[in-house]
Symmetry: D2
């Protein structure tokens, strides 16, 4: 995350994880499924751990699993920026392109907010296989933000 | 499904369900999660049964659950049209707009193929709550078809 | 437009055309380019007249021309519903699938609003060649509405 | 364009411009509208010159103009990579998010191909105002490539 501005994020990774676990424990499975690895500077890096639920026959990661990780990545980047209010942000649009069939490994999402307005945030998400350099999916998503 | 052409679909609902259960039993949970209600005439109607996995705190259906149903709906419409070869079709793009927070009930997808070419199929999917008339999500999706 | 509710639209086709010509005369070319054929009931039918500006070598309609017509169609459907305030609505997202190369003829957009909320409207747009029954493009679009 | 691989592009900017002018002179207006500034390494940088056709009342750049530039940017990146065959590539999908109303200035598109397969290419396009650092639009697009 080379372009991260120097301004400190409103919340640390540990604080965001705690907030999400308090409100939506099913989402991260308390670290069993989703993990926040970095957040701040209008970006986030999130991981979906390999688990049976996300596998398809033939040993590939399912489309809904990649969708979930993309959706999670932008949400985390928003919460890091605007704090607890971001918990109530909701997805209004998500567009995802599947680029390659990913083998059965952890997948990582690199998310960058390209807009953070008063009412709407827009993010761009690149998804990679753990240890791989080719992108396996690319998404953009719009969130509606709760009023201040 | 008022506009269904009179031509019979290549496969019946029972045959499509059997094919999918044979190849991807996790997807439908053998009827526990996903159910095909109608297919043919470049359309399908599919149902996602209410289940704990798909709920969010506050009693709404999760975004990934709606994504999964949309993705399933177009796949079923393709298989009805081109037969077993359609099992190998893969999602290349899915764009979804979330229109309202759905209460905890079954959701239904009405899918219509707007293109069925040699290499690509494009579908439009409307998602409704069981018993409701307002759309809760709208999606479009492109599938890449395996060669004949 | 079979599903049009019986409630009268807020503005007639003539009134919408007049409003648009007053604010954005370049868009319709005062009927030379874009024509509103019907509006109301959360729907619209709009036409892009064949003109040199919209042609590509080989005699097909350009992608930007189809984009423009889709964008226009949803805007007209919004104005019909919410009146002059709709003139200030702005596109936040437009997703378009090109399904076939259209020959050099007028093209028609059939637009349906799938959501009309306080802040956002979402529409689905089908584009056909004049006199043809196959869809040549399909779009969905989100508009941000000005406050009341 | 910091991540450009060191491999030389198949075609230079001058060669791509010449090819496009030979096949689609209306598109660039022979440099009056669209200009290719850099291409290669699966990327491109393209410019839309300010011109009356692209302006909206109030002095903003029109949505279709931004769409056209995004569509042009990915096409140029493809041609640089696969050569003259890329001239026949066609847009199958374009999804664009409008992030801010751009003032009346030149706009620049930074395009990156995130996939270049046998049949499909997918690109991500960031659009900026000349001299500005905020993104005004963000797009992703899929092109269908002609057979070898």
């Amino acid at each position: 995350m080379s372009d991260v501005p120097t301004q400190a994020p409103l919340l640390s990774v540990a604080q965001i994880t705690e907030l999400i676990d308090a409100h939506f424990p099913h989402m991260t499975g308390r670290g069993k499924y989703m993990v926040i690895e970095a957040a701040g500077g209008r970006q986030s890096r999130t991981r979906l751990r390999l688990n049976e639920r996300n596998l398809r026959p033939g040993g590939t990661i399912s489309g809904p699993a990649m969708f979930s990780l993309a959706d999670f990545g932008i949400w985390v980047a928003i919460i890091a920026e605007i704090g607890e209010r971001g918990i109530g942000a909701v997805t209004t649009n998500l567009n995802i392109n599947f680029l390659a069939k990913p083998e059965a490994r952890d997948i990582l999402a690199h998310t960058k907010l390209v807009k953070l307005g008063k009412r709407l945030a827009v993010g761009e998400i690149e998804i990679y296989l753990e240890g791989g350099s080719d992108m396996v999916a690319h998404a953009t998503s719009t969130y509606s933000l709760p009023p201040k």
